[in-house]
Symmetry: C2
Subunit: 583 residues, 2 copies
């Protein structure tokens, strides 16, 4: 997919449409019902040129869609059927059959061509609002991007094609609508296949214990990695047993709850967020297979590592209807519960023998990282943002819930929370990852149970401070660790920090200068500010048994914090690369 | 639930809110987080009065929703959490937490109070548009009806409460939004529970082979009926084997494809649409259990029979996300494939012994019905709408597809198509049941395979006549039986026919006076009109081997057709009731 020279508009169109159509054909598409139209030319010609696609032309879009519906009824999920039309009322005439497909649960791929955004809502000819045109009748709607031929875009449209067909088949079956904006000229160049079908080998669908379709993927590899994002992992025993049998590392996001469980074993790697920042190490630890569970991972280094090794087989296990692959690195998505998948694999007698050097390389990086972090943090008795996490991990008793605030806290927990056999549960608001509402969510999490520690930054705390009213009203007990760096600390890690220093503090740093001490009196909570690590740990220990909510504030400096993180990553990279590890 | 006297407004409110809240509590609700407000009073007071509900009050709706979110994160699907607020921006302040719940897959029941419809969009105070307020973030949205206390309404709101909680739990988990319009005065009367939880015993959720949760329901009964609506039934072997083991009748909608399969046995009952019109017979054949598969059944008599016996346990097996119970008669909905459920039951050793008298009563009604229909139809050599169906069933070879047009054809097929061991597949557009697009859908169904017979009425045929262009373009072979009664025949069966004869023909009969003969030349299809049953059967036989599309028109008279149907039903009722059948 080299882009040595500038591609022509027609070539871009050809590659974009080709990457999309190739995915459909790879997932079994043979029949396309379409009506003549100009705007749909890029897709119509790409379909027509494909040797495996049969075109059924119709003049009336309403008949066309119903004709395809009849074909799709007979095909069921044996083979997909697509319909394609131009923009305007052509697309509206598809509607009756789309509604029928929705309500009689018939899989149907609905492709409509549209004017580009700059021609919409301006009285341009044959231009209507086609966004979500079929309302709730379409199971899934995607407003497709304008054609580009970057590798990311081609991967994206290829994935959308594959996912669209799988989505029409997922229960209850029904229509999926993709709306394609196209700019003139509309004739695409004939191009070679971009992906040779390699990204479309995967499938979505519920599996049960009898099904082992994906198992050979696993058993054919010896240097796999298991990646666990937030959620869905419990019970964790079989996953960790599987990892031990395979000798594969488990890169466990804290919100996966795999870092702290009685089953925790040497396969669990907690320091990846620090050591995978090293490009040399990320290369050294190149996997030949990725088995991923749960939601996308929190930290950038791990997701960059997965993107870096996008060539390998990469299977995602996810809840039905989800497709947790923002990195576009997966080659297959399976709808299933992780423990079920692990049980299926554990029952097989063809699991490969563990490659001891493989896990050893990961363990080495893990241990070196932990050494470096401890050494650097132990240089200072002053509490820092990283030591807030490691010290909390040190003193926290069993059976506590940790609520990770968004922005820096969840990332520092990812970086610095070690793997242990403690019984802990991690929570966070990682669905939309807002900093609003975190105080209230954590108090709700503590409402029945208590034994909860919230780690939260000052902006997020300020944002939902009035949520503290619930403490008195409902008699809630919890510990709140307030990491106060007087502003948005995470922005210091962005390039905006160095590239426009003039406006940085106003636009991103946003210091508020608030002294939070009066909050104690206002809401009837305990409040103390600590400076040293000893004070912090003592305050934590005291808070665990105290009734009500205890806020422990740790004041930090954003610039110093950035330097500290950077030093840790630098020294981890230096220490953890092991040139002797065989590649 | 007697309604002997006129209920007060407060009593109506109390029963409506009570029926709803009782369902939530029966499904495990214990925690409700709410903010003070006037419009939400009917629900707030009903929750507060309920001994098993704990109220968590908050002042700020944003905090309230996030607090509930935190509680719901910890509860998971162990217990539901609901939030409740008044109308206006109160509901909008729920939005951030609802979005977070959607994206982090946390079950949350969102209840908003609203002004009644007559106060909306007129500048009334604190009135905003709350319909689908959270957009795609709510997995399911229901604009609730204004409070009423009819049995139907109480059943409905009870079911919505039960279904709403189950829907928050279905994968991927997330928020459900119910918007309640309430009229002043807003204080509900304290009322006794309406349902004693009986309608909320069911559950929704995927099952696998290890799970037998529902099996004791089945094994505890000996006079069950199995009802199969359109779709999802294949392979049919295990269902029919189960019916044989239990000695239960299978009331098989033709679109279930159970009436015509090599596994078809004496349990399959095809004549129910005729004989269940008899109230005496519907009472005589009272079931003690209903096991229902697939989409809602086509005909009214069967759905009336199910409503008549609404007191019995009634389990529906359906695709995930569906809830095919427009009769509000089910007591439980299970997400599963019918063959899986049947296999689970067949593996059990506690299946009850068949009650031979039970199936015999159904067989008797079935055979009597068939005798009466044959006798009456054989009185005349002229083709009628019922004989069009029975004669087609008689001459059709194996391995054909039958496409049932909407309105009368699908109902006559339901009434008159017998159960046989032939291998046939039935299709129809029963999702939205439109008469548009039927010709094109049937041609699409025939596109690859041929061997298709479409039975269609004249209005539906006219509606999509231009779809016939596909015949020549794509070389499609099919037989079209055109039942031409010059208008909307089904309306003759409605009360509009007798109650306003003056306007009936203009508004409903809608005679078009079209002679369809030129269609042959226009679209290059065969066309012949037949009058007698012999001509019809000969034309059918000739069409099966002919290339292209052959249209066989049968002209009928709407008034005569109504009389014929009514006579059949009357004589079936007289013949089929068996006073000696033990109740």
């Amino acid at each position: 997919m080299g882009a040595e020279r500038q591609l022509s508009h027609a070539e871009v169109l050809g590659r974009y449409a080709g990457a999309f159509v190739d995915a459909l054909v790879a997932r079994g598409l043979r029949d396309v019902c379409l009506c003549p139209g100009s705007r749909s030319t890029p897709l119509a010609l790409t379909f027509a040129r494909h040797p495996r696609v049969k075109i059924w032309t119709h003049l009336d879009e309403r008949s066309c869609a119903y004709f395809a519906l009849g074909m799709a009824k007979v095909h069921g999920s044996a083979a997909p059927v697509a319909i394609l039309c131009s923009s305007g009322t052509a697309a509206v005439n598809f509607a009756p059959a789309v509604v029928e497909a929705a309500q009689s649960h018939v899989p149907l791929l609905v492709l409509t061509a549209d004017r580009p955004q700059e021609l919409r809502d301006l009285g341009a000819n044959q231009t209507i609002d086609q966004v979500r045109l079929y309302g709730s009748a379409a199971k899934w709607f995607v407003e497709m991007p304008l054609p580009e031929a970057s590798e990311e875009m081609l991967r994206y449209v290829h994935m959308v094609g594959w996912r669209a067909i799988e989505t029409t088949w997922a229960m209850p079956q029904g229509p999926v609508h993709l709306n394609f904006p196209f700019r003139e000229p509309l004739v695409p160049a004939a191009v070679e296949p971009v992906f040779k079908d390699s990204r479309a080998e995967g499938f979505v669908g519920p599996i049960n214990k009898e099904e082992h379709r994906f198992a050979p993927d696993v058993t054919a590899h010896r240097r796999g990695v298991i990646v666990c994002g937030p959620g869905m992992m419990e019970p964790t025993g079989s996953l960790l047993e599987l990892a031990a049998r395979l000798g594969w590392p488990v890169l466990a996001d804290p919100l996966s709850n795999l870092r702290s469980s009685p089953h925790c074993n040497d396969n669990v790697i907690a320091g990846y967020d620090s050591f995978l920042r090293s490009a040399a190490l990320a290369d050294e630890l190149a996997p030949d297979f990725v088995l991923r569970f749960g939601a996308p991972v929190t930290g950038r280094p791990l997701s960059s590592y997965l993107q870096r090794h996008r060539g390998v087989r990469h299977i995602v296990i996810a809840e039905p209807g989800l497709f947790p692959d923002p990195d576009l690195s997966s080659t297959g998505v399976i709808e299933a519960y992780p423990p079920t998948v692990c049980d299926i694999l554990l029952e097989r007698d063809d699991l490969p023998n563990a490659d001891p050097g493989w896990l050893a390389a990961w363990r080495r990086a893990e241990l070196k990282t932990r050494e470096v972090v401890e050494r650097i943090l132990n240089e200072s008795e002053v509490a820092t943002e990283p030591s807030v996490i490691t010290d909390l991990a040190e003193v926290l008793p069993d059976a506590f819930n940790i609520f990770a605030g968004n922005s820096m806290p969840v990332r520092d927990i990812d970086s610095f929370w070690p793997a242990t056999k403690q019984v802990l549960s991690f929570y966070g608001n990682r669905g939309a990852s807002g900093i609003d509402g975190v105080v209230s969510t954590a108090l709700g999490a503590a409402a029945h149970y208590g034994r909860t520690v919230l780690v939260i930054g000052d902006l997020s705390f300020y944002h939902d401070m009035n949520g503290l009213l619930a403490v008195k009203r409902h008699g809630i007990s919890a510990t709140i660790v307030l990491v106060n760096n007087d502003g948005g600390g995470i922005f210091s890690f962005l390039s905006q920090n160095s590239e426009d220093e003039e406006h940085f503090e106003t636009l991103f740093g946003t210091p508020h200068g608030l002294d939070f001490t009066p909050v104690a009196q206002l809401y009837g909570v305990g409040f103390q500010t600590v400076a040293t690590r000893q004070e912090y740990k003592a305050a934590l220990r005291a808070s665990f048994d105290a009734p009500g909510v205890q806020i422990i504030e740790v004041k930090t400096d954003r610039a110093e914090n950035l330097k500290l993180h950077q030093r840790i990553w630098r020294e981890v990279a230096a220490a953890a690369v092991a040139p002797e590890v065989a590649k």
